[in-house]
Amino acid sequence: MTPFVADLLIPVGKIIAVILYPMIMVMVMIWLERRVVALMQGRLGPNRVGFQGVLQPVADAAKLFFKEDIIPRQADKRLFNISPILVMFSSLLAFCFIPLGEPLRVGTYTLTLWIADSPVGLLIVLGLSAISVFGVIFGGWASNSKYPLMGALRSVVQVLSYEIPAGLTVLTVAFAARSMDLVEIVRRQESSGIWYGFLMPVSFVVFWISAVAETNRAPFDLPEAESELVAGYHTEYSGMKFAYFYMAEYAHMVLASSLVVLLFFGGWLPPFQGVKALAFLHAVPGFVWYLIKIMFFLYLYVWIRATFPRYRFDSLIRLVWKWLIPLALANFLAVALVRFLR
């Protein structure tokens, strides 16, 4: 293996993969959401473009690509243009730190399925995904219009508030795994034999709710509530810029689902990994298990969206400050106590 391949081709290949992977998942999500929500509502959803409508996202992307890029006259041009990029950038960058499985042996070379394995990977991912808030507030502000501004304000308050329980619950996982390294966390779940989602179910539930709120998804989708604010902070965006916001939302969902799976459900580990009788499950590559689990949580996102009405803003904030944060704190103290007593 020449240095050229090892130090240039492979990293470049990984970078391309890291960009492609969320993009492909976004395409899958767009299709999944529209079909599943439709079927839950007694409709069919898009099923014409490609087999069962699978090419629909491609058609959507192409349509958005060809749309006229309108910048409102009263908008602040630089901020207006930068916001979609910020939102997309934060989630794509976070994917660099998401591991997809144990390193593969290819001949003499060990191929790591991540771009970076930082000892504080968890912290970095959380921090990077929070950068998207800037994109939202810039977008709402730069649009120079009342509805986007109100949507942006709501979104910022929502995201910042829900970061707190998310952070607290993630800390309990770090405690249990004695590490903030994402790969290490999965390996700990393997060695301890129980996934953290079952060990600390409260953490999981609180984190899941926060994840749904962080990604501005129903029932916490007030910032983009169609029936109230037309389209919230991305009202004034059209064409490719809107496509960026749209895709970034799904990319965040995939990121959140990946985090949930890595932290609470054993990442790429097969279920019942300790049970000898089910050892054949190990024959399936870890990456496949990983995908299956992520798909389950993405499906859960869609299912929740099709079912529940929207939270009103004050109820949303009351929920996080009066219920989730105290619960997360209590949970954290409980876990810390258990760790201390061990």
Partner: protein, 364 residues
């Protein structure tokens, strides 16, 4: 940065203003300080137009008032003309009118349930409500060919008879609707998020409601048992046994509950009407050209949106001298500001939805 009062505009193009309605809102952060509805975007000059048409020609135009409950408009107008002209309607025709009017009430309430749930975010209920409504529209289509602007109730009776085939199909629909209703109830009735957004929101007290002229389900949600079908029965409604659902608090949740209960009561009424359908003609003997001697009549019915009334003055010709429509949505909308003051901006959508307005009726 401190926010004081912002003036926001909802509409006239807006996903939840139920038509072309413009709402000027004064908002302090999220709290509503005042609302002014601006009307007239759908004003078509109906009342002026009616003065130049014959009594019979006016009937299809009444479909376009509350276009989600067109048979009710037909019924209101036609009953007024018949009172003015002193026309006796055969009992079979009266019963068929009750069947049609109550089916129309079902369709209107199911559509309303869908719209309101959709505005608050429960998108799937929209489709469940419309799926149930489809079956009723299919009945209408079988009856007279039209789904929305039905024009099935004419001066003197109804346009067609209903045969045993149609009766049995109506009965099938009546057994299907409660299942859909149960689905909707499961999703919403005890749902925490739904209750947070509707209980205690948009309250109005009973006395104020009457003073504001509120009628229909919003008034009954305050506990006021005012239903024209019981108070001044028309078209043989006195023959049927049904309850008038009442609320207690006059908030959005009670309006929602009252309308869902009314769906159950309408099913009862239709069942009784079909069971007791008398024999006889379905249309009275009408002259070829209907000329009405000078006089004036006023008649009200309980339309799905509230109390609908028509005043007609005749001048001896075949065209009315003046037709004035008392529109329930027009009057109900006046109380919007009272209900919304002090509530949050997100509640405006819920309150507006709970009033169940149709712009066709408001703007004429």
């Amino acid at each position: 940065m401190a926010f004081k009062e912002i003036e926001l505009n909802m509409g006239p193009q807006h996903p939840s203003t139920h038509g072309v309605l413009r709402l000027k809102l004064a908002v302090d952060n999220e709290v509503v300080l005042g609302i002014e509805p601006v009307l007239g975007y759908l004003h078509r000059g109906m009342e002026k137009l009616w003065e130049s048409l014959t009594y019979v020609q006016v009937v299809p135009l009444t479909d376009r008032l509350d276009y989600l409950a067109s048979l009710s408009n037909n019924l209101g107008y036609v009953l007024t003309v018949e009172r003015l002209a002193g026309i006796e309607i055969p009992r079979r025709a009266q019963y068929i009118r009750v069947v049609l009017a109550e089916l129309q009430r079902l369709a209107s309430h199911l559509a309303w349930a869908g719209f309101m749930a959709n505005d608050i975010g429960a998108m799937s209920v929209l489709l469940y409500g419309f799926e149930a409504r489809e079956e009723i529209l299919d009945i209408f289509e079988e009856y007279c060919g039209a789904r929305l602007t039905i024009h099935g109730i004419r001066i003197g009776g109804v346009i067609h008879d209903i045969d045993t085939g149609l009766v049995s199909r109506i009965r099938t629909v009546l057994t299907n609707i409660p299942k859909r209703l149960a689905d909707i109830r499961t999703l919403l009735d005890e749902n925490r998020i739904w209750k947070q957004r509707t209980v205690g929101v948009g309250r109005i007290a009973a006395a104020e409601a009457i003073d504001y002229g509120l009628t229909g389900p919003p008034l009954r949600a305050c506990g006021v048992a005012w239903d024209m079908r019981k108070d001044i029965p028309y078209s043989s409604y006195g023959d049927f046994d049904f309850d008038v659902p009442l609320g207690r608090n006059g908030d959005v949740y009670d309006r929602y509950a009252v309308r869902l209960e009314e769906i159950g009561q309408s099913i009862r009424i239709v069942g009784q009407a079909l069971d007791g359908l008398p024999e006889g003609p379905f249309m009275a003997k009408m002259p070829r050209v209907l000329k009405i001697a000078p006089g004036e009549a006023f008649h009200t019915i309980e339309a799905p949106k509230g109390v609908l009334g028509f005043t007609i003055r005749s001048n001896g010709t075949d065209k009315p001298e003046r037709v004035k429509m008392k529109s329930p949505s027009f009057i109900n909308l006046q109380s919007l500001e009272h209900m919304c003051k002090g509530n949050l901006f997100s509640d405006v959508v819920g309150i507006l939805g709970s009033l169940d307005i149709v712009l066709g009726e408001i703007d004429k």
